[in-house]
Symmetry: C2
Subunit: 225 residues, 2 copies
Amino acid sequence: MPEPALASRSHVRQLGARAHYERETIYPIIDAAPLCHVGFEIDGQPYVIPSLHARDRDAILLHGAPDSRLVRHLCAGHPVCVSFTLLDGWVLGRAACSHSMNYRSVVLFGAARPVTSPAQKLRALELLTEHMLPGRWQEVRPPSEEDLCQTAVVAIDIEEASAKVRTGPPVDSGADRTPDIWAGVVPLCMLAGTPVPAGSEQDDTPLSGAVRAYFERQDRANKVK
Amino acid sequence: MPEPALASRSHVRQLGARAHYERETIYPIIDAAPLCHVGFEIDGQPYVIPSLHARDRDAILLHGAPDSRLVRHLCAGHPVCVSFTLLDGWVLGRAACSHSMNYRSVVLFGAARPVTSPAQKLRALELLTEHMLPGRWQEVRPPSEEDLCQTAVVAIDIEEASAKVRTGPPVDSGADRTPDIWAGVVPLCMLAGTPVPAGSEQDDTPLSGAVRAYFERQDRANKVK
């Protein structure tokens, strides 16, 4: 990924102090985001579609039905913008206009290309499955030749990207810092609840190890807080 | 909002059984989504920017800095697409290709217009504050004339919209329904953690009533699950 020029598409124009342009900041946000929003344009009309994703080095992988508008349009090489957003908290100031959110977000630009070789598609589906739930790929039936035919994979080579991050308390002006209004941050995070088995009530298959590990990580993260 | 034609921008082309075109399905998703992703296009380049939002009848309200690219571009009347996504769970099939997510999403199209009258801007900022945290508007200092000058408000009149919803267990083919692989759904939801006051350690301002009510609703929702 080349370093972006300041006047490029990626230059964060608002609240520039929150902007970051380094892989060390950008990639962990992409990897932590459960899904992304893909923007493309047809005849001057913008479209924004949510999608699962995975990152493979300097590329974003998406998958979909081979005949989907998204897949067909991207594979034709049109420019694409992908946005990743993690909401970390409501920022509640003492004035209405000092309300905000704490977040980590990435906006990236790139060109898409179809991934067509069966080996590369298989690798992409492994990364997409592992992005959803690390360890899951080893537990499940891998894609058959037919599965691979029915799934299109698109890679978006990242040409430019920027991250924007807000952390910390609300910023109220001195005059607003009166003690009669509570101000602060309500932290937010995505949490997993009790797994619901797909089978009937007779289902005594032990819970997936990947799901158990997911909950162990979640419990550890919550104890740290 | 006129009913969309089937060949319109809003027609859901993939997995049409998951598609909905009624206000009763679409508006609760918009209202429950903490934020949205706004897509616009400049010289053939798509942009997707996360934003806080509120709904006012058949319009979406956004706010930002008056000189922001998003605000200036939208106010010029260019077409816009706004996407709202609530992730409800990982759907873990027994085959890699039967993995999916449970979600509620809305994609809408419209034209933006600036909201310029101070009374309408004030009303918009009230709706935006209340979308973040119901009851908060009454607790805080309302926007001053200066605040209103420093904040631009944009309304996007909804011309077309569609919702896409997936619920329920994974769908595996008969051959894959073997008892040796755990399959099911891991429910996901956004949860609020312990509020962090903005003040110093001497701060003994009682916790905001709006925040307390938020936690009470959250506790009730979790007891129902």
